[in-house]
């Protein structure tokens, strides 16, 4: 048992996960995190603009100076500014790949025949992810995990820290996707054990049941969708 530490008590109701929408196919739950946060993107863009706007011209200037007059005096600035240039390049590649992923593929969604889930029951789940543009160029595989874990949040000084502890991790069967597909579909079955811990969604202390579906599309994207599902007693 973890050492008990009494922190500030918050009078808050339960913080429930997103509820699925009832559709003709069943209960549809969309991955709430599409990996694209507008505020973070704008902040990152501004940061990159300033960083690259300053470091790249300076790096180019010292490179020209080194080429014109190679010496120890001119190589040291090159070595120093190369670090900043590399960071700028890495940032641009990261921003570009994030945008490319959003451009090429939509967020994932799962479809369940019934919701919420109950102890001791098995459920067939369909995962679906559509491509916005084009089709897959190479065969790929989709993997998934059915994870039960504890999640807590607390303050450490001025920082908000989270900690997790996995209670159980079940690797689900892989599924192959052929080239030429414009939609990734993954069918699987998850079982909630009879004595499984039930979902708890307090604001700072949670027991979560999560379906994690990982896709790796060559030359396109590598991404994981997370779906938190509610488990109730049978």
């Amino acid at each position: 048992m973890a050492k008990i530490k009494l922190n500030k008590i918050n009078q808050n109701p339960l913080r429930r996960p997103l509820q699925p929408q009832k559709t003709a196919e069943g209960y549809c739950l969309v991955d709430p995190n599409d990996g694209f946060n507008l505020f973070i993107f704008i902040f990152g863009l501004l940061w990159l603009a300033i960083w690259c706007g300053v470091s790249f011209p300076m790096f180019a200037f010292v490179i020209i100076a080194f080429i014109q007059q190679p010496s120890l005096e001119t190589i040291l600035p090159v070595a120093f500014l190369s670090i900043f240039a590399v960071i700028g390049v890495v940032g641009l590649v990261w921003a570009g790949s994030s945008l490319y992923r959003v451009y090429r593929i939509k967020v994932g969604e799962v479809i369940l025949s019934t919701y919420p889930l109950y102890q001791g029951q098995s459920y067939r789940i369909k995962y679906r992810r559509k491509l916005r543009q084009g089709r897959t160029t190479k065969p790929t595989t989709i993997t998934a995990q059915w994870v039960n874990y504890e999640w807590v949040e607390y303050r450490r000084g001025t920082d908000t820290v989270t900690a997790t502890h996995e209670i159980s991790v079940i690797d689900l069967p892989e599924q192959s996707i052929m080239a030429g597909a414009n939609e990734l579909t993954y069918m699987t079955q998850v079982t909630v054990p009879e004595n499984a811990p039930l979902s708890i969604y307090a604001p700072h202390n949670q027991v979560r049941w999560e379906l994690r579906v990982k896709i790796q599309l060559p030359y396109m994207t590598r991404d994981t969708s997370f779906f938190v599902l509610q488990v109730l007693p049978s």
């Binding site: 973890a2 708890i200 007693p233």
Partner: protein
């Protein structure tokens, strides 16, 4: 001093939690300003503590005075879809029944007692 007695220690959703408490005032001249019986759940552990009062029954101070040193009954229904008692690695979630009697004064002196019980998915009877 407040002594709480519950008819049972384990409950499921929809069960009736009943019991009684006996209040013995250490000062007969102290008249309560307000009194409540509360059903709470709370967490302890590494995470920031969460707490929620699920149900609350206010008590009449006059009636409480009439019942002094005699058992005062109470009854709650465990609602559906409330979190279950849980004892895990990073935190635990517990349920308690709380009796709180507040007296007049600047610092709101109070008598308070709690009694822990469990809310389980199914009952384990011996």
């Amino acid at each position: 001093m407040i002594d709480i007695q519950l008819d049972d220690q384990q409950f499921c959703w929809g069960d009736t939690l009943s019991g009684q408490f006996i209040w013995q005032s250490d000062n007969p001249d102290k008249i309560p300003k307000s009194a409540d019986v509360l059903m709470n759940w709370f967490t302890e552990g590494r995470g920031t503590g969460d707490r929620q009062t699920v149900e609350k029954q206010p008590l009449s101070p006059q009636k409480l005075l009439d019942f002094q040193t005699r058992p005062f009954p109470f009854s709650f229904t465990i609602p559906r879809e409330v979190p279950m008692t849980y004892d895990g690695y990073l935190f635990r979630l517990m349920w308690e029944l709380e009796v709180k009697i507040v007296f007049p004064g600047i610092f709101r002196p109070q008598d308070r007692a709690t009694c822990v019980f469990q809310v389980l998915p199914y009952l384990q009877r011996d």
